[in-house]
């Protein structure tokens, strides 16, 4: 069993600095993910560790030996690499290629022995490639070839395995099989794995620690759940993402949201009555369009509430699984009055959230333009014995506008927003924390 130590390495191509001061320690059984956006230096780091690209500063040790003072063959006895590009120059058979993994263990003129053939066979059975051992490497599909290259790396019987984008050519079942295989070698025989992985969910699922690179520097390093936080993902990848614990696989899972669009601030606020995830998409769209969005009343733990947190949308909330109280109802009405429009999504109504519709009625009375999305007819989502249906009818009578699909809403809103701003000369009145936020937005922009 060997330990790998990367001590503060620097790499540059010409005058461009690609890596600076990267340190990493890998012990037997570790599965380290190297994460980061394109061009952050992941592959360069892997090349340095694999003794192909000598760093300009710092050092890399396998146990007590600096790898750049060792011969390639000494390094190859301990370390195998699965590269991104696996083109093969001549028409070698699959078996030939896998047997080449035995090279570091053979003498200069020694032929592969029966034992070597046996090891190659085992590696091929593990990677599902034994079935085409006698085919030419050129006849294989990209995924099959990838598995052959992994078999070759395993035939090397390494103690450290470096993978550069190991799954780029694999379909989902082969991705899982290969990663499960590598993981089990990690757990059972103490193989240390360092893998460049683009898919954050795969990284979350298989790595126990990670190194997050940003522009050639370590942005975060440590246990995978400390590295893969939505803050880190936003800072490094400039993408908002929801990070949750997957209850089935007990690993983190990451849901990236589309990158933020930078629309001009519409200086117009919309309140949403939603819940159970019916508003999440629309909230994101409206925020992207440049509206200030508020929401309520939402129960804590409701998925729309989680979306609010993520998108930093102020919301009036109620305790989990609790009906709306007078206090929150009033707070909600106050928030609606500060908005220039109200949107009600096709959320199911039960006794818990029926009061939101009553609040909407008051808002209409107050003169707030109201849009109701009825993708699903109210009759199908009314769990109040008809009360919600009646209230809907009243809202319609008071002038609420019905919209069939949420996707139609932004264009309708854009038109009515222009009208609104022409009609009402007076600036929107904001109060409380909303006002503060609005003003800080204004000063920052």
């Amino acid at each position: 069993m060997v330990k790998l130590n990367v001590n503060g390495i620097d790499c540059h191509y010409g005058s461009t600095k690609v890596l600076s001061d990267i340190s990493l320690e890998v012990k037997p059984g570790d599965f380290v993910g190297i994460l980061g956006p394109n061009g952050s230096g992941k592959t360069t780091l892997l090349k340095s560790i694999s003794r192909v690209l000598k760093p300009h500063g710092g050092s890399i040790f396998i146990d007590r030996d600096d790898i750049y003072s060792l011969k390639p063959i000494e390094v190859a006895k301990n370390m195998a690499v699965v590269p991104q590009d696996s083109s093969v120059g001549f028409d070698f058979s699959v078996m030939d290629v896998v047997l080449m993994g035995r090279n570091p263990h053979l003498g200069k003129f020694q032929m592969e022995t029966k034992k070597d053939v046996e090891i190659a066979r085992k590696a091929m059975e593990l990677t599902n490639t034994w079935g085409f051992a006698d085919r030419s490497i050129h006849e294989l599909s990209g995924g099959e070839r990838q598995r052959v290259i992994i078999a070759r790396a395993l035939a090397q019987e390494p103690k450290i395995l470096l993978l550069d984008e190991p799954m780029s050519h694999l379909d989902i079942i082969n991705q899982l099989e290969i990663m499960d295989l590598v993981k089990s070698l990690c757990v059972k025989s103490g193989l240390a794995v360092i893998a460049v992985i683009h898919d954050l969910n795969m990284a979350a699922r298989y790595c126990n620690s990670a190194l997050l690179l940003k522009a050639g520097k370590v942005f975060a390093i440590g246990k995978i759940d400390k590295v893969l936080t939505s803050e880190n993902i936003r800072s490094v990848f400039a993408v908002d993402a929801i990070v949750r614990k997957n209850l089935v696989t007990n690993s983190l899972f990451i849901i990236p949201l589309s990158p933020k669009k930078y629309s001009p601030d519409k200086k117009c606020s919309i309140h949403m009555i939603c819940g159970a995830g019916t508003g999440t998409m629309l909230m994101k769209t409206l925020v992207d369009e440049g509206y200030t969005v508020t929401a309520g009343v939402l129960n804590l733990l409701d998925s729309d509430f989680e979306a609010c947190e993520l998108l930093k949308i102020p919301a009036v909330t109620e305790a989990p699984f609790s009906p709306i109280t007078d206090k929150t109802c009033d707070a909600n009405l106050e928030m609606i009055k500060n908005a220039s429009m109200l949107v009600i999504t096709a959320v199911p109504f039960g006794s818990g959230n029926l009061r939101n519709l009553e609040t909407a009625k008051e808002a209409l009375d107050f003169g707030i333009p109201t849009y109701i999305i009825d993708e699903v007819p109210i009759e199908d989502r009314d769990f109040t014995g008809g009360k919600a249906t009646d209230l809907m009818a009243e809202l319609k009578a008071k002038g609420a506008i019905f919209v069939k699909y949420p996707s139609d809403l932004p264009s309708i809103l854009n038109i009515s927003k222009d009208k609104l701003c022409v009609l009402s000369e007076k600036p929107l009145t904001l109060s409380g924390h909303l006002k503060k936020e609005y003003e800080s937005d204004k000063s920052s922009s």
Partner: protein, 358 residues
Amino acid sequence: MKDNIEAAYSKRSKRWKLIFLMLIVIMFVTVIVALNIGYAPISFSEILSILGKQIPGLNEFIVPTAFSQTNEAIIMQIRLPRILSGVIIGAGLATSGVLYQGVFRNPMADPYVLGVSAGASVGAGFAILFGSGLSVLGFPIVPTTAFIAALITVFVVYNISKVGSRVPEMTLLLSGIAITIFLAAIFQIMQVLAPNTKLHSLVFWSIGGIANATWSDWWSVFPFIIVGIILSYFFSRDLNMIALGEDTAQHLGVNTETTKKILLTLGSMMTAAAVSISGLIGFVGLMIPHITRLIIGPDHRILLPASIIVGAIFLVVCDAIARIVTGASELPVGVITALAGGPFFIFLLRKRKLSYRM
């Protein structure tokens, strides 16, 4: 059925030895047959007696009257040096072909296509023009300058055509052509400027032939090529690794940079040695490794030794054809290899265009 694979791989070494032995036998037969071909009719029994006489211990059994002295002179002083030159040049060119194709990871590479042969001939031309008969550190000057020029050429072509860590066909062939044309122009300038006394030897270079090869010619190249072949064989498994890519070879324990430099140097040395007695003989280094690879596979541990022998056989056969087709006025062997190699090259290019894999 898959168990057969394991059995086949454990018997591989034996099979390779068998193939190599068979090729050696074929080579000997070819040499004997080639000794028979020529203007003066000399029977096989005479040939065998003449050859047997040269071998100490065997000569007691040979009846001296079985052949005439003229025939002995023809065989020993004219045909044998010529044919053995064919053997060693064919072997050298085929080996450098294997090395270039392996290092460049490209089956279109060859000393002639890459311009290395042209480089060697310019180097040799310089030596002929300005100082034939001199020697550098005990080495005859013609092969030495040919070697230096060949070495410079191969590194220039390699660095021009390298894109990232790969050597694509396109840049390889184009830079080879450009360098060849450039060097050919220099060679023509040399011919124009050459005094009449030296013009003949220069013209001889550009044609490519072994018709006038002597024993001293043979001895001047034999050590270079035999050393080149033996040293190359040390790297035959490394060449397999390099076929998987330079970085991968390194990951599998090959010191890629050093190995590449050694092999390109050896290839250039063998090319230069061959060129220094035969002039430009094209396409041997291209065709032989390719055909051999088709028959016995790409593993350099057998590809290299087999190509050496096949190359030797091929050049001896081409030379024999050159002697047969035109009777007394002989064609240079370079013409025959070019006639065979040109179409083969085009066929290869066409085939690779259809199934582009690099």
